[in-house]
Amino acid sequence: MPHQIVVLSGKGGTGKTTLTGAFAALAGDAVLVDCDVDAPDLHLLLAPEGGEPQPFVGGVLPRIDAERCRRCGRCVGVCAFRALARDSSGAIVVDEVACEGCGLCAEVCAPHAIAMEDAVTGWWRRSRTRFGEMFHARMRPGAENSGKLVSLLRREAVEHARAQGRSMVLADGPPGIGCPVIASLSGADHVVVITEPTVAGVHDLRRLLSLACHFDVPGSVVVNKYDLNESVAEEVERVAASLGYEPAGRLPYDRRFTGAQIQGLTVPEAGPPELADRLREIWETVRHRIETPREAERRRLVLRPVAG
């Protein structure tokens, strides 16, 4: 089985995509996945080409047959999501954003006027990049089941890596700790958490690492912009280590990271060399841990925290 690595952060905007792009360049032959299907950005660095967009059926939506509908309103009464309402003429209308697709309205409709139909809520595709194939997707705004789309992308990527004899699947994750993050994390072999030395970064890191422990995924921590506040940077690393997640390196507060992004390149490609070197050291540390996971695993099992 290929190793599955996912880059997460808890707090948004701490450098997940910049780090993932760098890892993609340094790994050279990883199968790549953008698990942020809501606001994906990895393609801006990796310029994926080709691949037919595949529709993603994220759920079902009710379609009301106006001729059969007796306008009794039973469906409106049972909907827990307030997704059905009467319009000014008394006809029943569906709020597709509010609907979660449970199908209860169709079930209770006496004249069988409601049919649940597949809803295409996004697309996904397999494209080529200069560092290997990339699986990426885009969810329709406000659509349900982004976790299901993330799981599909990961499954396809792992399948592809196995078929091609590739050793690694590298994923850029979404922010937060909710359903798409859970879908990105569960079953991964290693999580790389990138955070900033801020009180918000520490707060969000604790919650994300609790989640990673809950799903039993070992990992490493990278502090971005460490020189913004070195005492908080140390606190970040202390907190992470106490939960069994060892530091893998630090990155400075440097506007040249943005320069690479503006060129549409990863930092190992665009430079500057001292930042590229730091990223290479971090990558080597992470790769070494993935290949020899025993020590980290042992520590993590001893230091299992209470989720909270």
Partner: protein, 289 residues
């Protein structure tokens, strides 16, 4: 009045803008700050409110009375989320997959299913100076935040300016915060990632029928593409805040820039004035809903 502070991309400064804006507005009007980023709430770190006791928020999940269950399978056939299964040795519920639609309990022919409350997080309220404070905190491991965001929104004060600090992105959690707002501020940064995600957020906000304007944070860190794009789209840029290491350092310590750095106050006072003006105009335009 409801003003949502949102962004496609995370980490562009939603919480920085909304907490400083709350402080700036408090001098002129009643303000309530509501942190709707319940996965990773951060507003309390800067506003440091005195908080009352937490109020636990629940959602309904089924419980099956195994003695009454006949194993007919109506519930598991109905549930599209795979949250209830009938096994040879009895029924099984997977509460984290349940969407709380209530269908299984309603449809069970032998009335063997009732619903019980499952805690999904807490809502806390308090005050930070003149700013009324509300936030929600999702329990770690709980996948679905929208019901908790709805509970935070129930604390909206109709007589105040309500600043909703939204979660990043445009998926269901962000939409749960944005829907029904009178006005939205989309916070971005002038980078390719910032622009790409701003375009997605603008599209979503438009679809929701919420009028909006943009705040460009760290406005001198990247290039001019965000400004150019806003111009071609006819989107107003209400404020530009320059990259400022003193603000970044204050924020890293958990200090509210408005409280500790005198030079930032003018910008937030002006943004506050503009936001109230635009949101009032939007409300009037929407028929004063």
């Amino acid at each position: 009045m409801i003003v949502a502070v949102a962004s496609g991309k995370g980490g562009t400064g939603k919480t920085t803008v909304s907490t400083n804006l709350a402080r700036a507005l408090a001098a002129r009007t009643a303000v309530r700050y509501l942190d709707c980023d319940v996965e990773e709430p951060n507003g309390h770190l800067f506003l440091k409110p005195s908080l009352g006791p937490p109020h636990t928020i629940h959602r309904k999940v089924p419980v099956v009375d195994a003695t009454a269950c006949t194993g007919c399978g109506v519930c598991s056939d109905f549930c599209r989320f795979g949250a209830i299964a009938v096994m040879p040795n009895g029924p099984l519920v997977f509460p984290e997959l349940c969407h709380s639609c209530g269908g299984c309990a309603m449809l069970c022919p032998s009335d063997a299913i009732t619903e019980e409350d499952r805690p999904i997080g807490e809502v806390e309220t308090g005050r930070s100076g003149d700013v009324a404070f509300v936030h929600g905190r999702l329990r770690v491991g709980e996948p679905a935040s929208p019901p908790l965001i709805a509970a935070v929104r129930e604390m909206i004060d109709p007589d105040a300016v309500n600043l909703l600090d939204a979660p990043p992105g445009v998926a269901c959690p962000a939409v749960a915060a944005l829907r029904g707002a009178d006005f939205a501020l989309l916070v971005t940064e002038p980078t390719p990632f910032g622009l790409h995600d701003l375009a997605i957020a603008a599209e979503t906000t438009r679809e929701l029928g919420v009028p909006f304007a943009v705040v460009v944070n760290r406005s001198d860190m990247g290039d001019g593409r965000v400004d150019d794009w806003c111009k071609t789209q006819g989107i107003e840029v209400l404020a530009r805040f320059r990259e400022d290491r003193r603000i970044a350092e204050a924020t890293s310590r958990g200090d509210l820039a408005y409280d500790v750095l005198a030079h930032v106050r003018g910008g937030y006072d002006e943004l506050g004035r503009l936001v109230v003006e635009r949101a009032s105009a939007a409300r009037a335009g929407a028929g004063g809903r």
